[in-house]
Symmetry: C2
Subunit: 131 residues, 2 copies
């Protein structure tokens, strides 16, 4: 099936916590690269960090706006709905959204909220495939 997707002007920003450990941040960057090669619905796929690494969330969002993004999906790379997901990320998004009212910025559900997370855990545990 050949699905035509209008990805023009659409961007995905993966937001991770950020770590003092450079390898952890690089892991997020590599994952973002892998995502970019598969995320056919987005013209741009980038990552940003809440703290301890660059770019920041405002920095990542502003960069996408400068490149022409009109719609940005922010995907929290977090496993639980802690303060970062519930307060900090929405707060950072709101600040940028105020400066760019013509750009639609939407926060997706955090990764741990995914319906597929239990299957992933089963796989990692070396359990037989879910019957």
């Amino acid at each position: 099936m050949n699905v035509s997707v209008d990805r023009e002007g659409r961007a995905l920003l993966v937001v991770a916590h950020g770590s003092r450990r450079g390898a952890s941040n690089d892991e997020v960057r590599r994952l973002t690269d892998a995502l970019r090669s598969r995320a056919t619905a987005f013209e741009w796929v980038e990552c940003a960090f809440l703290e301890l690494a660059e770019p920041s969330i405002p920095g990542g969002l502003e960069s996408l706006v400068e490149r022409g993004a009109r719609e940005i999906v922010v995907l929290p790379y977090f496993l639980s709905a802690g303060r970062h997901v519930v307060e900090d990320i929405p707060g950072e998004i709101a600040d940028v959204a105020t400066r760019h009212p013509a750009v639609r910025i939407r926060q997706a559900a955090y990764l741990g909220d995914s319906a597929g997370i239990v299957s992933l855990m089963l796989e990692q545990a070396g359990s037989p495939a879910d019957a």
Copy 2:
């Protein structure tokens, strides 16, 4: 296909960071319940927390040993290979393992290391299913 799995004496311990926010810890507990109903390869499926919530990792492991576990898989519910995954969790496991040499305790790869994580991110981003 009817697959007979020898799950006797096998336990899965999901290890999360733990949060001051009770709802985050409850989220891990609910996920563990969901996992329990599907993890056919394990007689027991429980969770434990590195800090800020109960049971602790040693507490969770000891409880499984008391209940008869001979083999325990510890699954780090973490997205990156930070200090917690690389040092803290192995350290806690090693302490308990020393006290119970007959019990085999193995740390599985952390959740973020899963091959399926990119597909999960695509789903959460509202991207069309991976072609």
